[in-house]
């Protein structure tokens, strides 16, 4: 009896699944038009003022002959200060952006700036205010917690970053640890930047207090000889809310996959998408022994 039932069921299942080729059907997707995309991160500490203008690519469209990033090189891009003084930025091929030297247009602490881009009948703009003060680290330290002989992952390090939050205002921060290396696999001369750690912080419920960030890792230094002294650049950025909200999400986005929650990117650009934001920067050295 068992054999009979199983045999009949296999036939029935085969009949049922015979229409499998119909199981993926096309459905009507949500439609959007291409939009202008505007990005600029302004700081008195930067040598240049840089603006990137591009065009978004609707997902549900024809993808033939399209580049990964659809940069717009013939837009009219201007930056205007709160006194109405403005300057147009030319497109610079080598930077893939609209670029001028900071000496041509002053980016000053506490001032408001508007960045505008026009292309055809489309116009986008974003506004930001430069944070008044820079904030510096009061402590930068590294501790080795695990001996490589007891761990399969190499030595285990805990890095601590500490700074004091200015009282009486809402503050946002980014701590970034960058390393530079020369790739022997490419040309043995060009220096590349490797972002080792990024952390976004705000002073919610910590106004005027010391803020501490920690970062621990196993593997990064595990590949180096343990006696080597390594010095890493550590940046503390005091940012406006737009820089903070954008990077908080952006740094947490590693591409789309069906097993991760979608990340909605922040935008403060009217008429399109993107971010016009501001920051102040200080730098420290982190010594790893």
């Amino acid at each position: 009896m068992m054999k009979k039932i199983v045999f009949i069921n296999i036939i029935l299942l085969a009949l049922g699944l015979a229409s499998c080729d119909r199981l993926a059907t096309e459905v009507e997707p949500p439609k959007v038009d291409a939009q202008l995309v505007l990005f600029s991160f302004l700081s008195p500490e930067d040598k240049n003022i840089k603006v990137e203008v591009s065009r978004s690519k609707p997902v549900f469209a024809n993808t033939n002959n399209t580049k990964p990033i659809d940069l717009i090189t013939d837009a009219t891009v201007t930056i205007t200060n709160e006194n109405g003084l403005s300057i147009q930025l030319p497109y610079v091929d080598s930077a893939n952006s609209y670029l001028i030297s900071a000496t041509q247009f002053a980016i000053l602490p506490g001032k408001k700036y508007t960045v505008t881009a026009s292309h055809g009948d489309k116009k986008v703009s974003g506004v930001c205010t430069i944070p008044l003060d820079t904030v510096s680290f009061v402590e930068l330290s590294t501790r080795k917690l695990a001996d490589p002989s007891t761990s399969s992952f190499g030595p285990y390090y805990l890095h601590t970053f500490k700074w004091n939050d200015p009282v009486g205002q809402q503050n946002f921060y980014r701590v970034s640890l960058e390393d530079f290396f020369v790739s022997i696999f490419i040309d043995d001369t060009t220096t590349y930047v490797q972002n080792v750690f990024d952390g976004m912080y705000d002073d919610k419920s910590k106004d005027g207090k010391a803020i501490t960030g920690v970062y621990s890792n196993y593997s990064f230094y595990g590949f180096f000889n343990d006696t080597t002294q390594k010095v890493l650049d550590c940046y503390l950025l005091s940012t406006d809310i737009h820089y903070f909200e954008y990077h908080k999400r952006r740094l947490n986005y590693f591409g789309d996959d069906p097993f991760s929650e979608p990340v909605q990117q922040y935008s403060n650009v009217t008429g399109g998408i993107g971010v016009v934001s501001a920051f102040r920067r200080t730098k420290g050295k982190l010594v790893v022994r």
């Binding site: 700081s43 990033i69 069906p258 998408i273």
Partner: protein
């Protein structure tokens, strides 16, 4: 808080004392009600006293007690599907009356009116409660012929299913972790087999199934949205009986019988799938992949004497997915195993004829593990990762019936939860690595409760209750009061207006973003940072019985608010497995999973309609739900409210079972059944565009004011896109015949009879011409199946 707790205990004791003194003037009629033949105790059987227009029902262990004036009464005892019995009782002294009811061969249209007592919705104080007859579960057509309790619950109003074929339960806007699923007092943490396509409840072994969606009695707690309370059968006390079935993917059997006739009995049931056994021979010997699951239910009970009964019951189930490949001198193998084990030891003790006590010792365990083992050139690589939750619990429940107008339940529950967010072992002979780590978290969850079902006059019934809960979390202790009340006012004997209010707290949380019952779903405790989930719900409605036609109608409206509900943060991956690298040092944080989750609020409101017919040749129900569910998380969707994924504006279920011919003696039985369901499509988030989204380089390199060039997706706002609506019709035919030794049933069922291509998930795809299109994947087209069952 301790003082407050003591006050409540003193109040309860004082009430008991008062009732006890007052009840001395009256006489008590008490006893057990059983099914004749099997001696199975009947839950919810009715004991009516027509002369006084009063009555009571049996508790979860078949016990009843009613206090009446000293007089002579006619007592009518009834239960759905059984012939009622009438007794004349001279109640000059306290009297014990045990009753055995005989099953009616057919659930006939004509039943004596007393038997309809059980059918009366208008007579019940509680609302938002639906009892599902196990017999109906067996008659409803099912996917691949596998009868599934949770899929039948999905057909009830107020319950939403997640997606095609999935057994997940979403009740009144609540998440999949907000359902308290209880099997013989033990909490079941992962109720699914085969990634959610089947539930682990084998209908053959179940005696009763009850779903509560709101107006929760104080005896239940620990979850926000629903209680699914299931009891296993005890086992036939008179003779050996059995059932067996062969289906398209699984076979099962059940055996029950006496250990000591009329004193002790046992029940064993088992089920196993054989997809692996069928497909394995067709795979190449060097590459084998297999999957199977099995269930084992067992129960034994012993009636020590009139006042003491002991039950021991358990469930054990495992899902096993494995692969093995061979290459040259090497071998790779691995797999994923997960499953539940529960065990309950209960002692029923009749303290006196008004006070019934049940003491339960409960064990519940859910474990998940994933492993890989490689062998090459005599060296091995072994990786094991596991997670799980284990409960040890003691429950002490009392059922006190001081008068015909009061049914008081009170008790205390103590649970020790042991969470294992991660356990990791790595042995690598290639590199000499040998690492292991295990994170264990322990929490106590305790509760005291008391509730009273009160009749005030002829028309008004109240069920007020209070639950006091306590949970230990890291350094914090959470104490919460949970007041509950149900009320029912009879406009006429067959029409009642009802209302309810309940506050619930939930101290354990499920990290999942699919609700698909994936084995990687992780249960975690509330902590200093992760606060308990909390909800309050108010509901109001009415019930009308049509006694002559044997059906009832209920209409309910509800509003529920939830806070501290959890969700994964944007970008968090739910398939990420912690490799343990951060756990074997002094500074590792066992609560690190909290970094991936965020807390928010939820609102759910709507209306439900249910027309149900439990008795007769033609039975079934029509359910309709109109509902809205919104969530708000500060860290999701820019803090804006959004529709929950399973927000379902319209949900319709029609279930019809028609017994054309009842199997009797040598006559064949024939049962036809059909279901039709419709549901608004799920709310999902889709990418609509891609754009340049550079990451700023703080160092200003390269090129000064540097950008790390990259792209990102632009999405619709969260869950702003609706998938296509879901609808499906199933048919079933059962032909039953008495053979020499057994009764045989052939069942043919047709799942998705009109071959509706329902959406399972959407994905983007590029055509040969370069157009990117949105495609919908359908899981199940029309699927016929055949199964063969016997009963002896």
């Amino acid at each position: 808080m301790k003082q407050q707790t003591m006050k409540y205990l003193i109040l309860i004791c004082a009430l008991l004392f008062v009732f006890n003194g007052w009840a001395q003037q009256k006489k008590v009629l008490s006893g057990y009600i059983r099914e004749k033949g099997s001696k199975e105790l009947l839950i919810g059987a009715s004991v009516a006293v027509p002369k006084l227009r009063t009555g009571t029902v049996t508790n979860g262990y078949g016990f009843y007690s009613i206090t009446l004036p000293s007089d002579t009464f006619e007592i009518i005892v009834s239960y759905v599907g059984m012939s009622p019995k009438a007794y004349k009782v001279d109640l000059r002294n306290d009297t014990e009356l045990d009753v055995e009811l005989t099953p009616i061969a057919s659930l006939k249209e004509v039943v004596v009116s007393a038997n309809k007592q059980n059918l009366r919705l208008a007579e019940q104080t509680r609302m938002s409660v639906i009892e599902i007859p196990v017999s109906q579960v067996k008659d409803i057509p099912a996917l691949l012929g596998e009868k599934d309790v949770l899929k039948v619950i999905q057909l009830l109003p107020g319950v939403q299913k997640p997606s095609e074929g999935n057994s997940g339960i979403y009740v009144r806007g609540g998440g999949p972790d907000q359902n308290l699923i209880i099997l013989d007092e033990a909490i079941v943490y992962n109720a699914f087999h085969l990634f959610g396509f089947f539930s682990l409840f084998n209908g053959d072994a179940l005696k009763s199934i009850e779903l509560t969606k709101g107006g929760f009695p104080a005896r239940y707690g620990g979850r926000l949205s629903s209680v699914i309370d299931m009891s296993m059968k005890e086992g036939n006390k008179e003779k050996i009986k059995g059932e067996a079935g062969i289906g398209i993917i699984a076979s099962r059997f059940l055996l029950e019988g006496p250990i000591v006739k009329n004193k002790a009995s046992f029940l064993v049931s088992a089920r196993r799938t054989y997809i692996d056994a069928l497909t394995m021979p067709f795979m190449p010997p060097e590459n084998k992949v297999g999957y199977h699951f099995y269930d084992l239910n067992a129960k034994a009970n012993w009636e020590i004497d009139k006042k003491n009964k002991v039950y021991i019951s358990g469930y054990f189930g495992r899902d096993k997915f494995r692969f093995r490949s061979q290459f040259g001198s090497g071998r790779d193998e691995g797999g994923v195993n997960w499953g539940n084990a529960t065990g309950t030891l209960r002692w029923n003790h009749l303290v006196n004829n008004r006070l019934f006590s049940n003491t339960s010792f409960i064990f519940s365990d859910y474990q998940f593990s994933i492993y890989q083992k490689s062998l090459f050139d005599g060296s091995t690589f072994e990786l094991n990762f596991g997670s799980g939750i284990r409960d040890y619990a003691i429950k002490q429940d009392f059922d006190f019936r001081p008068s015909a107008n009061h049914t008081i339940k009170f008790g205390a529950h103590f649970i020790y939860h042991q969470f294992t967010p991660s356990a990791f072992v790595l042995k690598n002979q290639f590199s000499g690595e040998d690492t292991s780590s295990k994170v264990l978290l322990g929490s106590f969850e305790n509760a005291l409760y008391a509730e009273d079902d009160i009749k005030i006059g002829e028309k008004l019934r109240l069920n007020p209750g209070l639950r006091i809960t306590h949970f230990t979390a890291q350094t914090k202790h959470y104490f919460n009061l949970e007041p509950r009340i149900n009320s029912s006012y009879n406009l006429r004997s067959d029409i009642a207006l009802k209302s309810s209010f309940a506050i619930m707290n939930q101290y354990v949380h499920l990290l999942t973003n699919t609700g698909l019952g994936l084995p990687t779903d992780l249960w975690v405790p509330s902590s200093d940072r992760l606060r308990p989930q909390r909800s309050w719900q108010v509901a109001a409605g009415g019930a009308k019985d049509f006694l002559e036609q044997n059906f009832s109608i209920s209409v309910e409206g509800y509003y529920k608010e939830m806070k501290n509900i959890i969700a994964y943060k944007e970008g968090a991956s739910f398939l990420a497995v912690d490799d343990g690298s951060g756990t074997n040092n002094a500074n590792a944080d066992p609560y690190s999973y909290e970094n991936n989750i965020t807390s928010g609020r939820g609102w759910s409101y709507g209306a439900e309609f249910l027309l149900q017919r439990k008795v007769g040749k033609f039975t079934g129900w029509i359910g309709y739900t109109l509902s809205w569910t919104q969530w708000q998380f500060d860290e999701l969707n820019f803090g804006e409210k959004f529709w929950a994924r399973y927000d379902r504006r319209h949900d319709i279920s029609i279930v019809a079972i028609y017994k054309v011919k009842e199997q009797k003696d040598d006559k064949n039985g024939l049962t036809l059944s059909a279901t039709w369901v419709y549901g608004t499509g799920n709310a999902i988030t889709l990418p609509v565009a891609e754009f340049s989204a550079p990451i700023h380089s703080p160092s200003g390199n390269p090129n000064g004011g540097g950008f790390f060039s990259s792209t990102a997706s632009q999405y619709t706002s969260r869950n702003a896109f609706r998938m296509a609506p879901y609808h499906r019709m199933d048919f079933g035919i059962q032909v039953t015949r008495k053979m020499q030794w057994w009764i045989r049933t052939w069942e043919f069922s047709l799942y998705n009879a009109y071959n509706r291509l329902n959406p399972f998930f959407y994905y983007t795809s590029t055509t040969s011409t370069g157009d990117v299109v949105l495609r919908q994947v359908t899981l199940f087209p029309i699927i016929p199946s055949l199964s063969w069952n016997i009963k002896f």
